[in-house]
Amino acid sequence: MKRIPLRPLARVLAARQKGENPDAIERENLRARHEVIRDAARSRAEGRLLVLSVMFFVAFSAVGARMGVLASSEAVEPRAAASTASILSERADIVDRRGRILATNIGTHSLYAQPPRMVDKARTASELARIFPDLDPEKLLADFTGKRKFLWIRKTLSPEQMQQVHDIGEPGLQFGPREMRLYPNGRLAAHILGGTSFGREDVQSAEVIGTAGVERAFDDALRDPSRGDRPLELSIDLSIQTATEQVLHGGMKLMNARAAAAILMDVHTGEVISMVSLPDFDPNKRPVHLTGKDPADNPMFNRAVQGVFELGSTFKPFTAAQAIELGLVSPATMINTKGPLIWGRYRIRDFRNYGPELSVTDIIVKSSNIGTARMAVDIGAARQRDFLQSAGLLDVSPIELSEAASGKPLLPPNWSEISTMTISYGHGLSTSPLHMAAGYAALVNGGTLVRPTVLRRDTPQNGPRLISETTSLAIRKMLRETVKRGTASFGQVDGYAVGGKTGTADKPDRKNGGYHDDRVIANFAAAFPSHAPEYVLVVMLDEPVETSGLEPRRTGGWTAVPVAAEIIRRTAPLLGVRPEIEPGSEIKVSLGE
């Protein structure tokens, strides 16, 4: 850079001669120099600004481009995140209350055919028919030689069958992986578990969907992939379910019954510990739905939940409980039982004449229809209806089974006074045995409602109050007396202080109207131990006949009660209930003299 002196001597001298101020020259030069310096600084700053802006531009475009890529691309889990709880796509297991498997999955294969790729169609058809005897070789060959390009042959295969199909060596036969639902216990708890079938099918996989029971009610929860391998815990106890099923099956055969059902329920938690309906089926080979047949013969019909029956005298404790709760009677109040009770064109009779009057306790113990009907008249139709409504006997049961909705109680079309009287002893109103079990649980547990459930829970429900503690105690005493000296005397099980009420109802005649003379629904609702109830048991037999005596006997006391007593004898120890001497019972001690 050329450096110009600030005070060039020649110009200073020239200026002095002209009499000018030489300082002006210096300022002039200084200004010029500063201008040059300023220009240089400016261009440098501009250059820096340019570099900086390019850097910012590159940085921001990098961020923007990355955001664009992230927004438009598929999300991928970071591979390095080693997940221990891996997501399982299969259906969750179902286990009982002690963790024993009730339903699980196993991997198997499906078999499909692609006829265009087949080499020897005739031989393939005959070989397949040999492996699977239920396939028709002619029909298979027609399918193979027809227009079809794809057909399913089998949805599931056993490993042996798969090997045999492999051995045919036909390239047109292909296998696809399949998850299959397995119920290792076979028929046990079949009605609770229900069943599954394949939904949308693909070569690589198929949806397993629940078609009945718990499988259907909890279908979404069981299929939820985020559930992982956490199983669905039911309130059922496998060993108790087995014992109940075995005893009920024996009882059904001995009493020549067509069908039977039993429910064992915890009175505080509402958990169904075991629920059996006979005849039953194998959920692994769920039979095709039989339509048009009498539901009583359909093995898939869950009598404990879907079957609504007029249950007869088992209803009487509800009437007695309401009458006591309303303060109309006390357990010792004497009620006129002179029969027959004539109401319009109806006559209400007792099984036997029980004399002119009975106490409320004895009405339950001896099962007097007349006495119960008289109490119901005092209660009145509206109050009776409200009470049964709040006891949950008039609505669909809230249990988590897909069949519950079809077990809606049948109410009289017009709740007249005569309906009130017949309903008081269990005629004219049809409910399922499950409704009965839940109602009895509320009567004996101290008076609070319980909602029946098949899911395991550990805490009592403490539902809304139905009757007071004292009424509950009075009902418990009546039920105990019924077993001690009344219609349910075969229900004694040493050490368990069983209390209960029998019921026998004539079956409605569907063909001719009216009721059958010789076909009954016999049932028994029991609670044990009576002094501090923990469980209720409802046993129902369809058309039982007990033939050991001179005449065939059909009443609940002769048929359902002995079966129920045996169920209690077998299951109570398994439930962990210790036999004990009933408080307040007379122990006979003989003093030697």
Partner: protein, 119 residues
């Protein structure tokens, strides 16, 4: 001085590059290993579920009942009933440990028994 700084800096960059390169490959190897293990875990899980299903099938109450019935002579298993409950008071306190020659006494008595001819 300045050139020394440059040399040190460039060497550091090179060393870091080598380290990053090695880490990258080590990570990839580890990821492949993890993937392989995941597949193995999947297979093991599948096997486990089959074994569990088999265990449940072998322990189904129906089969256990039949086995208990068939082996009643050896095992003497019965369904539990109310009279199987006991009181703790009904069990005797364990007695003193017997002296060693108890066996000898017992055997001696037994030897006598066998010597006596019994009809």
């Amino acid at each position: 001085m300045r050139s020394l700084m440059y040399i040190i800096a460039s060497l550091t960059v090179m060393a870091l590059a080598v380290w990053a390169y090695q880490q990258n490959y080590a990570t990839q190897a580890a990821l492949r290993e993890v993937e392989k293990l995941h597949v193995a875990i999947g297979h093991e899980r599948e096997r486990l579920s089959i074994l569990r299903a088999e265990w449940a099938y072998l322990n189904r109450p129906e089969r256990l009942r039949e086995l208990a019935f068939m082996n009643f002579d050896r095992l003497g298993l019965l369904p539990i009933t109310p009279d199987h409950f006991g009181e703790i008071d009904a069990i005797a306190m364990p007695g003193p440990v017997l002296p060693r020659d108890w066996d000898a006494i017992w055997l001696a008595g037994r030897a006598d028994d066998t010597q006596e001819a019994r009809p």
